[in-house]
């Protein structure tokens, strides 16, 4: 039995909402006892009677809303609270700032907002398809951020969208740019001439931030969701987006970001790209993909290469993937870190907030460290001793905030990894932009410093390597976040792929560093 509490100070919400909340709480799996009451002393007595008066509840005042859940397990209690939090957030809405009567349904919202042309849907997956369907019926394009939407629903929605020439971006679409407007978790990037179609949100973020760093900009970026290029969905939205970008006068070069689809689907996508007659770059993150160029179509295997090839394409230059942006500095740092390695097995521990970044790291590390030596929780992972974890994976985020927003889980994992004597390198990603945490670097920097100190105290060096996905214009500021990490002793590289390579150079056999950096390490 575990009891968990949520407190909302000075929280005003009408009884109808609170009743709905109480109902929702009681329905949770494994939930035994709940209370959703204002924190008056009389109610605290009620909670005490029910064994629900936790310390947090005791600290509440009469105008604070207290929610307490007792459930069979911690995960179930936290899941119930997370659902309650979601309900409270979704309802509280911007009415508190606007004082205007707010719509309770999508239909009434569309009636109220003249000229509404996009619905951004992020309600729980079980209900998201219905909302998306309503929006499409009303002639709105849809960005479907929600995941856990059934495949049949995705297929039906994309069919419905196709009938009217509407976008159905997703499911599980975290990032998009339409008409220069960043949608979902997105970085501040300039408007420009490069159009993108992406099956992954953080993948898109890595590419556009690198484009921005090189002075390029985004015309439009359409998210299609992780399953669009599967055989079942047949790249429906990808092909639609390509048609649109092909005809868009503001788009001069097209980038597609995804995982290798079924061969038939891949052939369709490449054929469509060729037919459009614009230079194109295709980033396929997966095993067994051969990079190369054929006509106006360039295939690459990392997100960084996608950006580099696109920039070169815009400037009419041939393009070579680079291994490290600053090989001399890399050589120096690798030498230092290898020299400080302890006697253990020398393992890489990747702790990632972005799933695609984790996957890219795995793909970079495997050929360098040895097939089957990189374990973790990604599909197709190997055994060990190295490990790459996607901390935003479903099984790790039940009842908890996603690591892009809340660093608690990552900090725990950093501490755990630091205690393992084999850990030689920590590999991390820090993602900035609208919607992300206000100070992601600051959230993990103390734990990283502590990890290095712990290792030193036990006679071994611990290197921390990472990258920051962001731009100078992002709310968190790329320079400030980078500086924060560097002050904590982190070697910050310009891209996720380079950071993974750096980790391999430090932890791998000497031949890895020799191959990538030349000379002896």
């Amino acid at each position: 039995m575990t009891t968990r509490t949520t407190l909302r100070r000075s929280f005003y919400q009408d009884s109808v909402a609170l009743m709905g909340l109480a109902r929702e709480l009681r329905r949770g799996a494994g939930v035994r006892e709940t209370a959703a009451l204002m924190g008056t002393s009389a109610n605290q007595a009620l909670m005490a009677d029910a064994g629900l008066l936790t310390d947090e509840a005791r600290a509440a005042g009469p105008n604070d809303l207290v929610i307490v859940v007792r459930a069979d397990s911690a995960a179930e209690a936290e899941a119930a609270l997370a659902r309650a939090e979601f309900l409270l957030t979704a309802r509280r809405a911007r009415g508190e700032a606007s004082g205007r009567r707010l719509p309770r349904t999508l239909d009434s919202a569309v009636r109220q907002l003249e000229g509404a042309n996009l619905a951004l849907v992020s309600v729980p997956g079980a209900f998201a398809a219905a909302e998306a369907r309503k929006a499409l019926r009303r002639g709105l394009h849809v960005m479907l951020f929600s995941d856990n939407v059934a495949l049949e629903d995705e297929i039906a929605l994309k069919r419905q969208a196709a009938e009217r020439g509407l976008l159905l971006m997703g499911p599980d679409c975290g990032t998009a740019y339409l008409g220069g407007v960043p949608l979902g978790f997105a970085n501040a990037v300039p408007r420009g001439r490069i159009g993108l179609v992406a099956a992954s949100g953080t993948g898109l973020q890595q590419v556009v931030t690198l484009l921005a760093a090189a002075g390029e900009g985004v015309s439009q970026a359409v998210g299609v969701g992780g399953r669009d290029m599967s055989e079942a969905v047949g790249a429906a939205m990808t092909l639609a987006a390509l048609d649109a970008l092909g005809a868009d006068p503001a788009t001069e070069l097209i980038v597609v970001v995804g995982k290798p689809p079924a061969p038939a689907v891949r052939a369709m996508v490449e054929a469509r790209l060729r037919a459009l007659g614009k230079p194109a770059v295709v980033a396929m993150l997966g095993r067994g993909i051969a990079a190369g160029s054929s006509g106006a179509l360039t295939t690459v295997t990392t997100l960084e290469d996608a950006a580099a090839a696109a920039v070169a394409g815009r400037r009419g230059r041939a393009w070579e993937p680079h291994v490290f942006s600053d090989p001399a500095a890399a050589r120096q740092r690798v030498k230092e870190s290898r020299g400080a390695r302890g006697p253990g097995a020398a393992a890489v521990r990747g702790l990632f907030a972005g799933g695609t970044l984790a996957y890219e790291a795995l793909l970079v590390l495997e050929p360098l460290l040895g097939a089957g030596t990189v374990g973790g929780n990604l599909s197709g992972h190997g055994g060990g001793p190295h490990r790459v974890l996607d901390l935003g994976a479903d099984e790790l985020t039940v009842g908890r905030a996603h690591p892009m927003l809340d660093a608690t889980l990552r900090v725990e994992e950093i501490e755990r990894a630091a205690k393992e004597p084999d850990t030689t390198v920590l590999l991390v990603d820090v993602v900035l932009g609208h919607g992300a945490a206000p100070d992601p670097a600051g959230d993990i920097a103390p734990a990283l410093e502590a990890a290095r100190r712990h290792a030193r105290a036990h006679g071994r060096g611990l290197a921390v390597v990472g990258s920051v996905v962001g731009t100078a214009a992002d709310p968190q500021g790329l320079a400030a976040q980078t500086a924060r990490l560097e002050a904590a002793g982190v070697w910050v590289l310009p891209s996720n792929a380079q950071a993974a390579r750096a980790a391999a150079c430090i932890a791998g056999e000497p031949r890895v560093a020799e191959a990538l950096l030349g000379g002896s390490a």
Partner: protein, 262 residues
């Protein structure tokens, strides 16, 4: 500075008198709901603005139209065409008739379910103690029991507060002078300020002074059985369980008053 003028359709007579001299609203709302917005004046008094319809609180103001953006900005109330509604519950001239009318209005084959908080052992004890205190007209016991109900139960205005407001409505109508002595008023008001939400406290302070919402006032002062039944139905629809909790308090008080003091 004039600012936007909000046209008022109706408000309580006492509130109107106060606002005549100071008709401007604070810049920022205290809390915002789908159908109402609360403002807290400098002296801590709560004002609720809502659309046309019965005044949902003794401190409520019904506007002519409910599409105003009530974001910050100077705003004054235009009381020009407003109806001034008497929200006071006064002692009945004929107690017997009044009691019969209330019994007719409050009689329901299936009483509406009230908040589950009112069913807890703690609440049941307080309700029983309250009824006992009313039955024997013991002011001290009444204060004790009432204090046990203030802040108790679900809702932004806790169920216990709604229950007590219903009780006070009946007492003002049928138990002239009791318990509305200075001591009781002071005790309940002091308790309300500390022990319950801002909105709950506002309802209780007004109730102790004999001022109530329009549906509750209409029910308590009804002149005919059908008017009483209609008013009870309107009251039952208020809030999620607020109306039902208020009616529960009224029924209990009515029943308790049947007991003659020893």
């Amino acid at each position: 500075m004039i600012g936007t003028r909000l046209r008022v359709r109706a408000l309580g007579a006492k509130l109107a008198a106060r606002l005549e001299t100071e008709p401007s609203l604070p810049d920022r709302p205290h809390s915002v709901f789908e159908h109402a917005v609360n403002f807290e004046a400098a002296d801590g008094a709560l004002l609720t603005l809502h659309g046309p319809g019965p005044l949902a609180a003794p401190f409520a103001i019904a506007l002519e139209s409910w599409n105003e953006d009530l974001r910050g900005g100077p705003r004054t109330l235009d009381l020009g065409g407003a109806a001034r509604v008497d929200l006071a519950i006064r002692p009945a001239r004929n107690g017997v008739t009044a009691r019969l009318l209330l019994a007719a209005g409050l009689a329901e084959p299936r009483p509406e379910p009230c908040a589950t908080g009112l069913g807890t052992p703690r609440a049941r004890d307080a309700r029983a103690a309250l009824s006992r205190a009313i039955g024997v007209r013991d002011a001290a016991d009444f204060i004790d029991a009432a204090c046990g109900l203030i802040g108790l139960g679900e809702g932004l205005t806790p169920a216990g507060d709604d229950y007590l407001v219903g009780t006070l409505a009946i007492l003002h109508r049928l138990a002239e002078g009791w318990p509305a002595s200075g001591a009781v008023v002071r005790a309940l008001t002091a308790r309300a300020v500390d022990a319950t939400t801002t909105v709950g406290a506002a309802f209780l302070r007004h109730a102790v002074a004999g001022q109530f919402s329009e549906p509750l006032r209409d029910l308590t002062m009804a002149k005919s059985p059908s008017a009483a039944r209609a008013a009870a139905a309107a009251l039952a629809r208020m809030g999620a369980t607020s109306g039902a909790d208020t009616l529960a308090g009224m029924r209990a008080a009515l029943a308790a008053l049947e007991t003659m003091p020893a």
